[in-house]
Symmetry: C2
Subunit: 329 residues, 2 copies
Amino acid sequence: MRDVANAAGVSLKTVSRVVNNEASVTAGLEQRVRSAIRALGYQPDDRARYLRRAATGSRSLGFVQTDVANPFFAAMFRGLEDVVRAEGFLVFAGSSDADPDREEELVRAFIARRVDGLVIASARSDLSFLAAEVEHGTPLVFVDLEPAIDLGDVVRTDHYGGAAMATRHLLEHGHRRIAFLGDSPMFFSARERRRAFVDVMAEAGCPTPWLLTDLTTPEESEAAAHELLNRADRPTALFTAQNFVTIGAVKAMHGLGVQHEIALVGFDDVDIAELVEPKLTVVPQDPGALGRLAGERLFARLASTGRPFERTVLESKLIPRGSGEIRPS
Amino acid sequence: MRDVANAAGVSLKTVSRVVNNEASVTAGLEQRVRSAIRALGYQPDDRARYLRRAATGSRSLGFVQTDVANPFFAAMFRGLEDVVRAEGFLVFAGSSDADPDREEELVRAFIARRVDGLVIASARSDLSFLAAEVEHGTPLVFVDLEPAIDLGDVVRTDHYGGAAMATRHLLEHGHRRIAFLGDSPMFFSARERRRAFVDVMAEAGCPTPWLLTDLTTPEESEAAAHELLNRADRPTALFTAQNFVTIGAVKAMHGLGVQHEIALVGFDDVDIAELVEPKLTVVPQDPGALGRLAGERLFARLASTGRPFERTVLESKLIPRGSGEIRPS
DNA sequence: CTGAAAGCGCTAACAC
DNA sequence: GTGTTAGCGCTTTCAG
């Protein structure tokens, strides 16, 4: 900037005014400055600008997710990005792999960069160290989880309602021997879905001898489903409570050739749902909407602080496609 | 920081020394400072630190991709993130939707934040405005494309070789009537794959009346494949040259019930490949490896500048799974 | 081993 | 309209 000012023969402040499009610069001077900027390939340093302007804030956001390679989070990220872009903000993104240390490391790094807000879609640590930041004005939005502490808005799917719907759907189609396959109970969503399944089964007077959890990859799920369906005493239906779990279970069923005998309802929509035979009955989430809503909440809070935190819960509908309508044989 | 210094009764510089773990601080003072830091919930401002330290550089990277919601880019991002994390850097990520304006907007925003380097996996604009930055020391890595200008390292898949392999595979299985379905020729990868197909078909003396391009969504691809396969005069095999294109074409084939008559080889691996019947023969890429290699190149260049740019080309192998081994009827 | 002064690149506040 | 001064939060440089 100093170089530009020298080249144009003006003061620093005049260059600053041109860069910021302030009206009060004579046309001639402005031209001189603009040519100097072009000639020197000058790009203003936003870090210094925002540092001086606000001391806190950098027109950027931090996004902590479990794993960007999981299409669910990738779609959420995209939804968030679309909102953020409209505001001219940038996003720092990081995957935690559900590791509390990595989570805290990311959050601290984002805070140190003075992000204007944090979207957290992965929280196992209690994040109470954030309390000071929140009081200092950094808004937090939690996506698809219930934080241990009341420190920000929450946007999430109605996991309990969706899972109850899935379970009832299978009961209504005559099943009483239903297995639950889910991922790790470390996740709020997984706990809720399992709780709904257990509650609805209990209401219906059905035992639940098959409660499989901690299936974190398609491979683990496939192995578990394979073993389960190979037993003489096997369930007549599966409720697969997460996208990777569904993919693995479907592979196992196709491997064993039982996909037309055993019913299946999955939570989350998956690419394969309409391509396999029978097509998959699922309770989809809308990750893009979760991301967008999270972004909107964050900017709303940036605009006007002080109101009590809001909780947005997205309901989901069951999409019957075939696999969930198979009756017990 | 000033507050911490006051609370601890020391100078700013001493706090700075403690924060940076410089050895030369007396144990007693260090303790005083650390308690003050904890009591006040102080977090150093990395923007100011890096501003003073290097003026250029912020221990962060910019990643420009076409669309994070595309699993191919999401996996690439993850690979990049793993490398970046090991170095303690953060990543700004943005999707361009292959829009040159958005691309330039993102790149400029990243530069303005003084990222230490840029990974570009989406480039339609010629990015020549970056020349000044590159001379100024900001390294660039282009992933899966050939930049218009020689301004950085390149990491990419051997699209031509992979597509040639796919085409030959179909020829070797007796096909001569092969259709090409691909996405937009605005992408380097799409152009290369198409070029390989045309070359290999010409070598074999086969006409290529079916060259479908600009299929950018699964829906468009499904519609195009549906129309193509409904004709009396239809091809006996398809080469689907991108992940979304493959998904759409497979849907169309299953919709028409011709998946056991028409052969198919796809570029890119897809989740559905092992779940549909017949399973899909594909030439996979390794997006995670592309991301990791891009990160490694970038840090290598950060460590020692000045060497000529390198070009890393990943070869791929064809995975026969069934769909590509169907013979013409 | 510790502190005071200067300055990273920029802008707010106040001159002229 | 334009320039000067001070200072954002931190680190560098150089005294003590």
